[in-house]
Symmetry: C2
């Protein structure tokens, strides 16, 4: 069957279902029940129904039209993939593009019903959609049955990889202790039970890890915590005997993943809590079923903040993981220096080589995100991912931006280096030095208790702002401990994120400069917040750089750096040298020594 007929048949099948449920439209987002960054294929309904494979986009189906809303990263790809399907492309953030609610108001009659699958939309998103549709006179219907189950033939099963225990020496705090802290936190809200749906929170709470999701060592599940006993809703084939015993010891019973909905529908939970807490980021179907079952309060999960503040064992693990990763990076950089002049490398070939160096390290468990290896003007595309279509040969000129990271059993890494491969223009050097100045200013900040990331953000930007340059992404994000590489609730960015920064939190420090068609530069270390001092003015904190890898010196314009910045830069390199030297062979040691000799005026 031709692609366009396939898409047509799928849309027809959905429309049959919509008619059965008296729906005039159906909205299909790119999200899953657990609000994760990467989506298992089972929930890629938007991709299945439209043929559009980009990571972001929303399909809206009415009884006679279909539209796809996506952002500028995907305009060209979407146009190609939607060709001949009859699906309209709506380019987000262009002035002429209507919002989904606005468009639906135009094509539907007042009072008509718009359906969504409650399992793949968070409570928070549904609240906002409800209001914008209501404003346009339309009714939102949240379905708690997955409409695609009946129309998607050969729908991929949920992944069923076995899960495993993260030993307590690495986790630092036992599963029962974490559960007890969560119970105390929700009691302050008057709740006696909570359903966790964020996969990293479940993995963190239980000290378990899995392999269900690309780059994230998590497993698909829900966790119900009550006063007396707890239930992990998960596909049973994932549970080894060892894990079963471990969970039993921790008063966690196991039920099938799909059973949670049934248990809520039929009030079959063993101890009916008076008040049940769920997060506003939990999917709306679950929130709806919970509130039909018992009194439900919607409040942020206490596990989010607990998980963000790393304990001593997790911090020690991070330091180890950074040593593994640093050794891999140094080996790679040394190799790159020799390989590029030979002329056989491309963006994709060096990506594979870097993977190889990391895979040799202790406790390597895969990448923490898809590597960005952007050469020359490709580096100006912030979310660039080299593909066979775009793969560029790498020569002894220009700069290579390399943003990568790995999952190790001891911790998660995230590092960006921009590597000069030959002579650079003055503009390239100036931009490199501005990024470096920003990076160092943030890394060396001190700040009082209660400071939030928004207050610190300018430290990474002020040098480039003075030259009329800015970057539009955030400056830093949290990182999980052998968990997701992007982790909240704290962040460093221009818009307001109220969470206070606390000792034990991890933050990346990654300013950049991107000039379309020319070059892209980013320098990123992962930092740990540690206490700095107590004075009559209170507690002050600072950062300890965790990442261990030289930062290229070739592009630095020394006269643009002030004495303090030069000192910080050299101190960082001295620390990298001290920590990595004992872990390298003589050849690597020599390279490291050269790469970390102090910069002088």
């Amino acid at each position: 069957m031709k692609r366009k007929d396939e898409i047509k048949n799928r849309l027809d099948a959905l429309r049959e279902q919509m008619k059965l449920h008296h729906l005039s439209a159906f909205i299909i987002p790119s999200t899953d029940p657990h609000s994760g960054e990467y989506i298992p294929e089972h929930w890629e309904t938007r991709k299945w129904i439209s043929g559009f494979t980009g990571s972001a986009g929303t399909v809206v189906v009415t009884l006679d039209q279909t539209g796809l809303w996506t952002d500028s990263r995907y305009f060209i790809q979407a146009e190609e993939q939607l060709k001949n399907t009859g699906i309209l492309l709506f380019k987000e953030r262009l002035p002429e593009t209507p919002s989904i609610s606005r468009w639906l108001a135009d094509v539907l009659e007042k009072g008509e019903k718009v359906g969504i699958n409650g399992w793949v939309n968070s409570h928070q998103e549904v609240e906002s959609l409800f209001h914008s549709l209501a404003y346009n006179g339309l009714n939102l219907v949240t379905m708690t049955e997955d409409i695609f189950d009946s129309i998607w033939e050969g729908r991929p099963e949920l992944p069923s990889n076995p899960i495993y225990i993260l030993d307590e020496i690495r986790a630092g705090v036992s599963c029962s202790e974490k559960i007890s802290r969560i119970q105390k936190a929700i009691a302050a809200n008057g709740a006696s039970a909570i359903i966790l749906s964020a996969l990293d929170e479940i993995a963190w709470t239980l000290n378990l890890r899995g392999e269900d999701v690309h780059c994230n060592p998590v497993f698909i599940s829900y966790l119900l915590i009550t006063e007396n006993e707890h239930t992990l809703y998960i596909q049973k084939e994932k549970i080894t005997k060892e894990v079963r015993n471990y969970l039993k010891k921790n008063q966690v019973q196991i039920k099938d993943y799909a059973q949670l909905a049934e248990d809520l529908r039929t009030s079959n939970l063993s101890n009916r809590p008076n008040i049940l807490q769920v997060s506003p980021l939990t999917n709306e179907a679950l929130c709806k079923l919970s509130s039909q079952y018992t009194q439900t309060i919607i409040a942020p999960s206490p596990a989010t903040l607990m998980k963000a503040v790393k304990n001593g064992a997790e911090q020690a693990g991070f330091r180890k993981a950074m040593e593994y990763d640093g050794v891999a990076m140094v080996k790679f950089l040394q190799w790159l220096e020799e390989a590029v002049p030979k002329g056989n490398e491309t963006e994709m070939s060096i990506e594979r080589k870097l993977f190889h160096f990391r895979a040799e390290q202790f406790g390597f468990k895969g990448l923490s995100f898809d590597t960005i290896a952007g050469y020359k003007e490709h580096a100006a595309i912030v979310h660039y991912e080299a593909s066979p279509d775009t793969d560029m040969p790498i020569k002894s000129e220009g700069m290579l931006l390399l943003d990568s990271g790995a999952q190790y059993i001891d911790g998660t890494t995230d590092i960006t280096r921009t590597i000069p491969l030959g002579p650079l223009t003055e503009e390239e050097k100036t931009d490199y030095t501005l990024v470096l100045k920003g990076h160092l200013q943030l890394q060396n900040a001190h700040f009082p208790a209660g400071t939030c990331g928004t207050q610190l953000d300018i430290l990474a930007r002020i040098a480039m702002w003075k030259k009329g340059i800015n970057y539009l992404h955030g400056t830093g994000h949290g990182v999980g401990h052998f968990l997701c590489v992007h982790e909240g609730p704290h962040q460093v960015r221009m818009n307001h994120i109220p969470t206070s920064l606390e000792p034990g939190m991890i933050l990346t420090d990654e300013p950049g400069i991107y000039k379309a068609g020319r070059h892209g530069i980013r320098i990123e270390n992962t930092l740990l917040i540690v206490p700095a001092r107590e004075t009559e003015f209170g507690s002050f904190y600072r950062f300890e750089p965790l990442t261990l890898c030289p930062i290229s010196k070739e592009a630095v314009i020394i006269d643009m750096m002030n004495d303090e910045e030069l000192k910080w830069f050299n101190e960082y390199h001295q620390m990298v040298y001290n920590r990595l030297y004992p872990l390298l062979d003589p050849n690597g040691q020599e390279w490291l020594k050269k790469a970390t000799t102090p910069l002088k005026r």
Copy 2:
């Protein structure tokens, strides 16, 4: 009659009124109907009923108890002034101190009524009080009649000083143009009328000034703007013939101040608007009467932001006013240098001298706030105001903090200098240099369109944060154009203020270090936001320092300054020299030259 009997009689009279209105408690704040910083005596009901004269505090009266809530600045004063009155002192922000709502919940029964005078509490405050009382089972009753009118014998009249026109050359934009811009802005909310209650907004809109309020050139009034005609509610004796003609020409009729309440109560406004807009900062009585009269929407007044962005004429006026003020400051500083060694000066005597130098200047209209002249440890008290009890002789040692400003017909000034009068300790010099570094870092920032003050705040703090030092006040505030010296909506401070900074806005830059019992340092200039450049990354803005006055060099530790900071410091002094030199006599010119010679390593 003894003081304590007087207070008792007043409380008894209030309790009689409370019983008449079935109220179990009455809350008396320190605010007035116009949410101003300074309160005319007529509305000082909290002071009248309790005898407590501090600027901040709330009295709560039940049928058998009275409490005063105030902050740490006033703990000692309040204890003295409440002696023998039976009024309980509640020290705010101490862990053992209950909130007012909490305390009322303890002493009253559920369902009892708590009264407030709706005229002196803003809508916003009443909303929040309503919720906290409701949470404690109590009912809030907002009275739209002033209960004190019937019990306060000899209550001071409202001030009735004549008002005058600010010529259009100075205002830059005509009154009718401003009204038309306000009309357009409220139309976007669907409103066809607005009541302005903030006195500076009324003065700004009408290009009128008055003398009703201490340090603020405003006049007590309300302004109703409708589609066709407008009404200024004001005591008629304030209106000269000239002003009457001017208002008439601008379609503004005049009614008595008290008539607004009556007009709303009796629907006596000439054109009943369909939708009337009032600000959440408007007093609750007015909001309540408005919503009884017609459909009312509560939204920020558009005049707030319009007034904050200064037009070309206002900017030019500020520059002139800064020259007057700079000449006065230079004359004063020169005089101080000679006067202090003679040994006859005190905090209060130099305050008078500074007033004298300012009063000589063109268009002087009084101070813009009460001068803070804090010598040595007095400077560590952030809101210090010298009084005969505290007045300290000034010697050739230590530092003098001088925060002062004036109203000139061309603009409002606000400047702080900390002046070393003799040898200093290393700690004093270090702290002085840290404050100077922060001051210079903020003054020389560049930032993209859309940046808010919270993002910039750290620039003034990061140097001292690295030494474990902080200050708890904001770093900067807006300043009115020959209006209030503290003006919103934009600010630079640690907590989040979302208003974007725009060219034309004024900001002070006033970091400080305060060490109790030792010393206090603050350096403040007033800045104007101006465009810096347009690039492929958008519009960038910077600051133009308006304040023209040397900053003492004696306390600077040059080695703590980086090259950029030294350059900025010298550039500022060069600019001050260039601008003030032609305005001084040869003696002053010589002093200025010395005070502004560049600092060198």
